[in-house]
């Protein structure tokens, strides 16, 4: 379990001081305000013969400003847990607070940036307008006292993600990797303190994925949001995260939480370092211990 409330232990950010001390406007009881707390969360889909226990008793604490990945084989409940965090799915039991707020309150205040598996860009809008989507919707959130979002400058985020030249293009004119970058840009521009990403690179080819991971790290380094990132790739999990939450299926449970103390900023050379390889092996071993695999 992650029980780490000392946010100062997170690596320092470079040029955006608003990243970590972002909880302005966040209300909640003391120790919960600075972290995400998941307590005894379970989820059952369907009933009778269709009953699926997707999550069985999840306890997890994520301090603000951390990059955490949920790692595990498909069907272990990663998406379900992430959707419960976002308030997109009802939980069967347990409690979730995001920096002291329920997911519903946080969503209403636009405090959650959701990055889905497909880019989900609107084909009729330009990339710039797509990236600005959060600003166009739910305007009353800006007056919501629960709001902790500080919208970022679109053009800067587009530049940082290498999309400045494509701002006026429609999504159909872009490659899959660029569309995914636009989806990530949309998340960052929202300026929410929490970003939830469900396998955003899984539909891309390996080379594009490699580049995009580093790009994401680079931008995240600047904004320092709390990120919960879902993946079934151990290498991706280790490269990106401060911690890897290893999950096993039937029902979805947390098998282990592996701390990734590799130095930041992380670059292309990290993947060749022995420390990296050891961590990937550790993550895989922890998974294997709880789950023998199938077939």
């Amino acid at each position: 379990m992650i029980n780490h409330t000392d946010t100062s232990a997170a690596p320092p950010h470079r040029d955006n001081p608003t990243g970590i001390d972002r909880p302005q406007g966040l209300v909640g009881d003391g120790d919960k305000a600075g972290q995400i707390v998941v307590a005894g969360v379970s989820k059952v889909y369907g009933r009778g013969p269709d009953r699926v226990e997707a999550l069985g008793g999840i306890d997890l604490t994520i301090p603000q400003g951390e990059f955490v990945t949920l790692f595990g084989p498909s069907g272990c409940g990663k998406s379900t847990l992430l959707r419960i965090l976002a308030g997109l799915e009802e939980k069967t039991a347990g409690d979730v607070t995001l920096f002291g707020q329920t997911p519903e309150v946080a969503a209403r205040a636009k405090n959650i940036a959701w990055v889905p598996q497909s880019s989900a860009l609107l084909p009729w809008l330009s990339i710039r307008d797509n990236v600005l989507l959060s600003r166009r919707l739910n305007r009353r959130a800006e007056r919501d006292p629960a709001s902790a979002s500080r919208p970022e400058d679109v053009d800067r985020v587009l530049r940082e993600l290498g999309l400045a030249a494509f701002a006026a293009h429609r999504p159909a004119a872009l490659s899959g990797g660029m569309r995914q970058r636009a989806a990530i840009a949309r998340g960052f521009v929202q300026g929410a303190p929490l970003m939830l990403m469900d396998e955003p690179f899984s539909a891309l080819d390996e080379l594009t994925r490699d580049t995009l991971r580093l790009r994401l790290l680079d931008v995240w380094q600047r904004y320092r949001k709390t990120v919960v990132f879902v993946t079934h790739s151990a290498a991706e999990a280790v490269l990106l995260s401060d911690r890897v939450v290893v999950m096993t299926p039937r029902p979805g449970r947390i098998e282990a939480v592996v701390e990734i103390d590799l130095p930041r900023p992380r670059g292309r050379d990290l993947a060749d370092s022995p420390g990296f390889e050891a961590k990937v092996r550790e993550v895989r071993d922890r998974l294997r211990r709880g789950w023998e695999g199938e077939e």
Binding site: A107, P116, A141
Partner: protein, 260 residues
């Protein structure tokens, strides 16, 4: 079924067939049909009039046909506008309020299986000898294809995009306006194509009784006097007008959906 796939189909043809063949193929079919027609007209005189007499009939009194076409077309277009608007609005309501689905769909389907010829007399009794009954028949004809296609379209939104909207706590109106309606546009245009053709048919069929104006009425008049050329001018005019209207919907679709 929808316009985009039809256009893709057309594009495939364009890619594989040489230009000459593309122009010649339909021409050959038309010539063959024309020849067949003429053969029937010369040998079985009561079935088809010679094409020449059809053209002469049209050339002799274009104003007569234009006037009747105008009556039919204005009823069809008014009916289309009313029926399509009601179809889209009901689809929006059904998508947002589940109870309405059970309430509206059976009535809509019943209305659709009732032959318009059967409703026409009742409407004339109710509204009198004017344009209203014909507009209503056209509207009833246009309504269901629009409703069904709008329902399909409004439900065909991308799941991941819906999640993004929900994660931002977008209101229903925002989700409708910024997500559901734009992504349903191809379906709405497919519905409009069917609806406008149906409105033309409804308008013509409703003119079979209770009026002396409109393309439908000219067909009945021609039947009474066994005037085959007049009948066929009216039939060709209605077919070409429907094609033209569908073409206009295609143009509108291409102007609106620029991102496909």
């Amino acid at each position: 079924m929808n316009g985009r796939s039809m256009r893709e189909e057309a594009a495939r043809h364009r890619a594989t067939l040489p230009r000459m063949a593309r122009l010649l193929a339909p021409l050959v079919v038309f010539l063959l049909l024309g020849a067949g027609w003429q053969w029937v007209a010369l040998n079985l005189k009561s079935i088809l009039p010679p094409l020449g007499s059809v053209f002469l009939e049209l050339a002799a009194r274009p104003g007569f046909y234009l006037l009747h076409l105008w009556t039919t077309l204005s009823a069809a277009l008014s009916g289309f506008a009313i029926g399509a608007a009601i179809g889209v609005i009901l689809a929006i309501l059904i998508v947002h309020f589940q109870v309405l689905r059970a309430a509206i769909l059976p009535v809509a389907l019943m209305l659709n299986v009732t032959p318009v010829v059967a409703i026409s007399p009742a409407l004339i009794v109710a509204f009198g000898f004017n344009a209203v009954p014909h507009i209503i028949v056209a509207a009833i004809s246009a309504f269901l294809p629009m409703l069904i296609n709008a329902l399909t379209g409004l439900r065909a939104t991308d799941r991941d995009a819906e999640d993004v909207f929900r994660s931002l706590a977008a209101s229903r109106i925002e989700t409708l306006w910024h997500l559901r309606l734009p992504s349903s546009l191809p379906h709405l245009f497919a519905g409009a194509r069917l609806a406008i053709a149906a409105a033309m048919v409804g308008s013509i069929v409703s003119e079979f009784m209770g009026t002396s104006k409109g393309i439908g009425a000219t067909i009945i008049m021609a039947t009474t006097y066994l005037n085959l050329p007049q009948m066929w001018v009216a039939i060709f005019i209605s077919a070409l007008t429907s094609l033209g209207l569908i073409g206009l919907v295609d143009l509108a679709e291409r102007a609106v959906i620029r991102w496909a």
